[in-house]
Each structure stands twice: as structure tokens, then as C-alpha cells.
């Protein structure tokens, strides 16, 4: 089945009729391959560009995010240091009172609180522990009797603590019963011996509360962590993590050694992959950390990525659609071309047949005419008998008329089928005109016509034209002028050279029967005659003017006429000159 539908293409390839979209294409594999190759290159370039842009964008977004984290860490650090410093001021005041024997009354301390001398926004409680660890003084009205000698700060301050202020792990206060971070300082006696500890406790939330308003995403982390890995305050998202368990966080070793930096980890809190920025708190074994989930950090670049890849995908779709339609279009074109080639071959073949037929007809008509004309003329010329001479002359003239008809018919057919080509040659124009006129003299004389030739002195002597065609045109027009002239009429032939358009202008004027105006539009039509076929008196084929017009057009000129019934006709035409030799 398919075999029957296969069409052999002019390029030798095969295709299947009716399936022009298939890549077993009509266009030729190489063209389609080239198209696909170019398209692939284009798509690769587009995707490559999209990939590199997305990558660069990711890097940029990440870099910006990290910078943001670093800045947040710096302000978190400053906030923390400020908090410690504020608390330390309270510690120092109490320490000063105690060490210099100034009796610190509960009333005075509560007044400090009440009047805002001591910043109470975050401080839960202020107190003093004596050398035995007993809680001996507080801002509270009736502080409970508790012993705090087991507290880490008490143990630390008993020795000399190098950082001055000790920031404790979050613990539940035995007095306040609240989760607090306790800031402590050692109190010395006059001789520099251990004389107790002064304590300020505050809510660890205070440190991280500040950051609730900053959007780090649901998994953002703000934390204050000791170098020992024990957290002081942690906030993940908007949630404060109360970690009073002494769980030790896995801080990367480089974080302990450096004052600031960044690192990535999924080990630190909850297994979430984050990028962290950290800064050491001045004069404290503490690190401030701000972390953000990697996915969060690059979330901006994610929708950038979606847009870039979306656009690339769209371009890809359009390009592929374009490619397919192009291949289809090329295939259709190839099919059309194929049809065109076929019909062209058929036309060429038909034309060849027509040419052969025409020349064969011409040959076959001329061969017997040669006998008729030749022998009639011979008899007419040699016979002394008028009764033989006269019929021979009739045969001669009739057969010449027939020959003319055959010639006109063949010429017209040739011109109409575009098979007549110009044979331009240089010849003497004057001589040809004289020649043409001479052949018509006997007929003008017979009809007693005045035949005048007006010649323009500017006419070039030598012209390069198709001489035979020019003769045909002039003969036709003169034939008609003579035929339609009344006895004793006048025929004027004028020749002018129109130098501005480098053309020769001919006009042939008669004062004969003329053509009625209603017939003017039909004059150059084939088989037209200014006579009804029944009342025809002038004879002729009705093809002369049609052929004349076509020959003038073939030579690049134009023919027109003026005519009126019973006044006469003037036919005039121009012939552009090809090569012109000046006189």
C-alpha cells in the first residue's frame, strides 16, 4: 500500500504521498536536519543562559541573605552586650554598696525599681548571696530563705572568675520560680576575700524577643550559646525554646576559635539545614548566632528560577512549534514544487508537440503550394494564349492569397504561444521602406490611389530591428489601407524619429471607408472585420490587425488608430530602437 503511495522526488529521494508532516520528509533530510540542528543550538543556548542566570541569581541571593544574617548577628550581639552591660551596672552598684559597708536597705532598692533608676523591663529579681550561699538580700519584700551554694555561679565566684560577670545557663529561679538567666558578680571583702555573690536574674526571652519582629522564616534561629555549647537563649521561628536541660549543642570547632563568621550545619538544633552567622560577645564566653534555613535563604531565587525556567520552557515550546510548522511548511512547499515541476514538464511537452505540429503543418501546406504557385506562374509567364494566361494568373493570385493566409495564421499562432522571438539585425531603414512601398505600387496604381510617403530627415539610416516583422507590420497596414480606400483616394505614410523616446513613429493614413466608432474596441480582435460575413466585399481573414498588434508589441512598441466612418482611418505605431547609429 505504502509502496503505491511512494513518490520519487526530483532529488532522487522518496516520500509518502499524503504524509507530508512526517520527518521522512519531502524537503530532503539535510534541510530538516539543518533546521533541527539550528533549533537545538538555539534551545541549548537558551537553557544554558537560563541555567547560568539562575545559578548566578542563586549565588547573589545567598550572598545577600548571608550578609543580612551577619548584620542581624551584629545587632543581636550589640543587644546582648547592652543587656549584659545594663545588668552589670546594677551588679556593680550592689557590689559597691556591699563592699563599702553601705547598708543597702530593701526600701532603697525597691525605690530604685519603682522610680525606674534600675531598668525593670527585663530584670526579674536582684539579690545578694552571702559566703554560705544563703540568699540574704532581695528586691522582694519577703525573700524566702534559700541556700544557693550549689549554684554554678556561687562555685565559680568562690574562685576568681576571669570574665567578671558570669552569665548562667537558663535555670528556674528558686526564689522567682521563673526560668531565668542569672548574671552574677563576686563580692570581695576589704582584704579581697570572697564575700558573697550579687545576682541579677532576667527572663531569657528578653534577649530573643527583640527578634520576633524580624522575619527569618518559620525555621529562623536566634540564639545565645556558650562556648561550652550550652545554650542561654534560643528562639526558633516565633517560638522560644526553654532549654534548661543542659543539652550541649554541637558547635563547629572553628566557631569557638573565631570572633565572627558563618557556617552551615544541620546538626545544631533540630536537623534543619541552615546557614548561620556568629559573633563572639565581647569579654564573655558566649556566641551570638543567627541562622536561616537554606531553602528560606534562597526562596527569592527559587521563584526567580521558576520564572527563568518558565520562560525558557515557553520559548522551547514556541521554537518547537515553529520548527514543526516550518518543516510542515517546507514539505507543503516541496509538494507544490513537485506539482509545479510536473505540470511544467507537461506544459513543455505540450508546447513541443504544438511547435512540431505547427512546423509540420507549415511544411505540408507549403509543399503543394509550391507546385500550384510555381506552375501557375510558369504558365502565366510562358503562355501566349490569353485564355490560358488568364486562368493561370487567377490560380497564381488565389494561391498567393492562400499562402498569405497560411503565413498569417502560423505567425499569429506562433506569437500567441510566445514562440516567436525577435531576430534583430542592422539594416537600412530607408531601403526597406522603399522596398515595401514598391511592392504596393501596382495595387495603388490599379485603384488610382495617391500614395505619398513623408519622410523625417532625422530618421537614422541604419537601425537594428527585426526586419521581417517590420515588413509584415507595414505590409499589413498598407494592404488594409489600399483595400479599404475608395478609387481615387489618398494614402499617406509618414515616418518620424522620436529622439526623446528613441523610437520610430509610423503612421498610415487613408481617406477610405473608415471604422464606425462602436466597432473601435474590436479592431485588434481576431477574426474581426468591419463587415458582415454575408455582405463582405473586401475579403481577408480578419487576422491581419490582430497579428500586427501582437508583432508591434513583440518589438516593444504600441499601435493605435483614429477612424471615422466615410472619413478614413489612421493607424500609427512606434517601434523603439535597440542599437542606433547616428547619421
Amino acid at each position: 500500500m505504502l509502496e503505491q503511495l511512494r513518490v520519487q522526488l526530483p532529488n532522487g529521494k522518496f516520500s509518502v504521498k499524503g504524509l507530508p508532516y512526517k520527518f521522512t520528509n519531502l524537503v530532503g533530510q539535510s534541510k530538516v536536519r539543518f533546521l533541527i540542528f539550528i533549533t537545538t543550538l538555539l534551545l541549548m543556548a537558551i537553557w544554558g543562559a537560563a541555567y547560568f542566570t539562575v545559578n548566578a541569581d542563586q549565588q547573589l541571593v545567598l550572598k545577600k541573605g548571608i550578609l543580612n544574617l551577619q548584620n542581624l548577628t551584629k545587632s543581636f550581639k550589640a543587644h546582648t552586650e547592652q543587656t549584659i552591660s545594663t545588668s552589670d551596672q546594677v551588679l556593680r552598684i550592689i557590689k559597691f554598696h556591699r563592699e563599702h559597708g553601705v547598708d543597702l536597705k530593701y526600701k532603697a532598692l525597691s525605690d530604685y525599681f519603682d522610680h525606674g533608676v534600675i531598668d525593670t523591663r527585663f530584670i526579674n529579681q536582684i539579690g545578694i548571696i552571702d559566703t554560705a550561699g544563703d540568699y540574704v538580700f532581695s528586691n522582694l519584700a519577703n525573700p524566702p530563705k534559700v541556700n544557693l551554694s550549689d549554684r554554678e555561679h556561687f562555685k565559680i565566684h568562690k574562685e576568681i572568675y576571669p570574665f567578671g560577670v558570669f552569665v548562667s545557663k537558663p535555670v528556674v529561679g528558686r526564689v522567682s520560680k521563673k526560668l531565668s538567666i542569672q548574671l552574677t558578680r563576686r563580692i570581695d571583702d576589704v582584704k579581697g576575700r570572697f564575700a558573697g555573690v550579687t545576682v541579677v536574674s532576667f527572663n531569657p526571652n528578653y534577649l530573643t524577643d527583640f527578634y520576633k519582629s524580624i522575619d527569618l522564616g518559620g525555621k529562623g534561629v536566634v540564639a545565645l550559646i556558650g562556648l561550652d555549647g550550652i545554650p542561654r537563649a534560643i528562639q526558633i521561628g516565633s517560638k522560644v525554646i526553654n532549654s534548661d536541660t543542659n543539652s550541649v549543642l554541637l558547635i563547629p570547632p572553628e566557631v569557638r576559635d573565631k570572633l565572627e563568621g558563618t557556617f552551615m550545619s544541620n546538626q545544631l538544633f533540630d536537623g534543619v539545614q541552615r546557614i548561620y552567622a556568629f559573633e563572639r560577645i565581647s569579654n564573655q564566653p558566649l556566641i551570638s548566632i543567627v541562622g536561616q534555613q537554606v531553602i528560606e535563604l534562597s526562596s527569592d531565587s527559587n521563584w526567580h528560577k521558576a520564572i527563568f525556567y518558565g520562560i525558557a520552557a515557553l520559548i522551547t515550546l514556541i521554537t518547537i512549534a515553529f520548527l514543526i510548522s516550518n518543516i510542515e511548511y517546507l514539505n507543503r512547499l516541496a509538494l507544490l514544487n513537485l506539482d509545479l515541476i510536473k505540470s511544467n514538464q507537461e506544459v513543455t511537452k505540450a508546447n513541443k508537440h504544438k511547435s512540431e505540429f505547427l512546423s509540420s503543418i507549415s511544411h505540408e501546406l507549403r509543399t503543394p503550394l509550391n507546385g500550384i504557385i510555381g506552375y501557375a506562374e510558369y504558365i502565366h509567364y510562358t503562355s501566349k494564349e490569353p485564355m490560358i494566361q488568364f486562368p493561370a494568373q487567377i490560380i497564381d493570385e488565389s494561391s498567393r492569397h492562400l499562402l498569405k493566409l497560411v503565413n498569417t495564421l502560423l505567425d499569429l499562432t506562433q506569437v500567441e504561444s510566445g514562440r516567436m522571438s525577435l531576430q534583430n539585425e542592422v539594416f537600412n531603414l530607408r531601403q526597406v521602406i522603399d522596398d515595401v512601398c514598391q511592392t504596393h505600387r501596382s495595387r495603388t496604381a490599379a485603384k488610382k490611389l495617391m500614395f505619398i510617403v513623408e519622410d523625417d530627415a532625422n530618421c537614422p539610416v541604419e537601425v537594428c530591428l527585426d526586419e521581417l516583422n517590420l515588413r509584415r507590420i507595414l505590409n499589413n497596414l498598407l494592404d488594409n489601407a489600399i483595400k479599404f480606400s475608395k478609387e481615387g483616394g489618398e494614402i499617406v505614410m509618414s515616418i518620424h524619429y522620436l529622439s526623446d523616446i528613441r523610437s520610430i513613429y509610423f503612421s498610415i493614413k487613408d481617406n477610405g471607408h473608415g471604422i464606425p466608432e462602436e466597432m473601435h474596441s474590436h479592431v485588434f480582435e481576431k477574426f474581426w472585420q468591419n463587415e458582415d460575413f454575408i455582405t463582405r466585399v473586401h475579403g481577408g481573414s480578419g487576422m491581419g490587425l490582430a497579428l500586427t498588434q501582437k508583432l508591434v508589441a513583440l518589438m516593444g512598441g504600441e499601435i493605435h488608430f483614429n477612424s471615422a466612418s466615410h472619413i478614413g482611418s489612421t493607424f500609427y505605431f512606434t517601434i523603439p530602437l535597440q542599437v542606433l547609429e547616428e547619421r
Partner: protein, 118 residues
């Protein structure tokens, strides 16, 4: 001395016509019907002019003309095509194959005689 003419044409009427016209004008005219006869005549006798039809049986006028042109002894003969092939392309081809001129059928006395003027 009378000029000699050989007319080659397979059609009797067309073959005799030039002889009738030229015979009255002091030309000695011989006739034959095809190329083989023409070449045979030419091997024994020389002519001043040949009127050669183109569409001939077996050997075409063009081929006859070419073979005459190849023969050095026959170099001076004037060969005229005597043919009803009147289409431009055909006359062009004929003139390019060695003919001196072309006489297109139907002929008239005037044309025939003027051809023999040179």
C-alpha cells in the same frame, strides 16, 4: 558557357519546376530524387549550383550538404536549400549547416532567378 544546376527533390512537381524556369534562362538543369543519386551524379560530374530539398528519404538535405562540403573537389559549388521549412528556427539551422542561401517554398520566378545572380 552554360551554368549547370542540379535539383534534388523527391516530389516530382517540385523537382521539375526549377528546371522549367531555369531551362528558359540558359541554365543546364539536371534532376534527381534523393541523396544517393545526387552523390553518385556528383562523383562523375561537377555542377555550379545545387538546389537541395531538406526533407528527403534516407539522407536529409542537411547531411547531403555536409558530405558535399567535406569533399575538396566540390568546394566551389553553390548549394541552396530548396525547402518548405519556413520556421525561423529551421531556416537558422539550415543556414548554419553549410548552405549558401535558402529558397523557401512556395517559390516564384523572381526569387529563383535573383538567387542565381551571384
Amino acid at each position: 558557357m552554360m551554368k549547370t544546376v542540379l535539383v534534388v527533390d523527391d516530389d516530382l512537381a517540385n523537382r521539375m519546376l526549377p528546371g522549367l524556369i531555369l531551362g528558359r534562362e540558359k541554365y543546364q538543369v539536371s534532376e534527381c530524387a534523393d541523396g544517393a543519386q545526387a552523390l553518385q551524379l556528383l562523383s562523375s560530374k561537377t555542377y555550379d549550383y545545387i538546389l537541395l530539398d531538406i526533407s528527403l528519404p534516407k539522407i536529409s538535405g542537411i547531411d547531403i550538404c555536409r558530405s558535399i562540403r567535406r569533399n575538396e573537389h566540390l568546394r566551389d559549388i553553390k548549394i541552396f536549400a530548396y525547402t518548405a521549412h519556413a520556421m525561423k528556427a529551421q531556416t537558422k539551422e539550415i543556414l548554419s549547416s553549410g548552405f549558401d542561401d535558402i529558397l523557401i517554398k512556395p517559390i516564384n520566378r523572381q526569387d529563383l532567378l535573383s538567387l542565381f545572380q551571384y
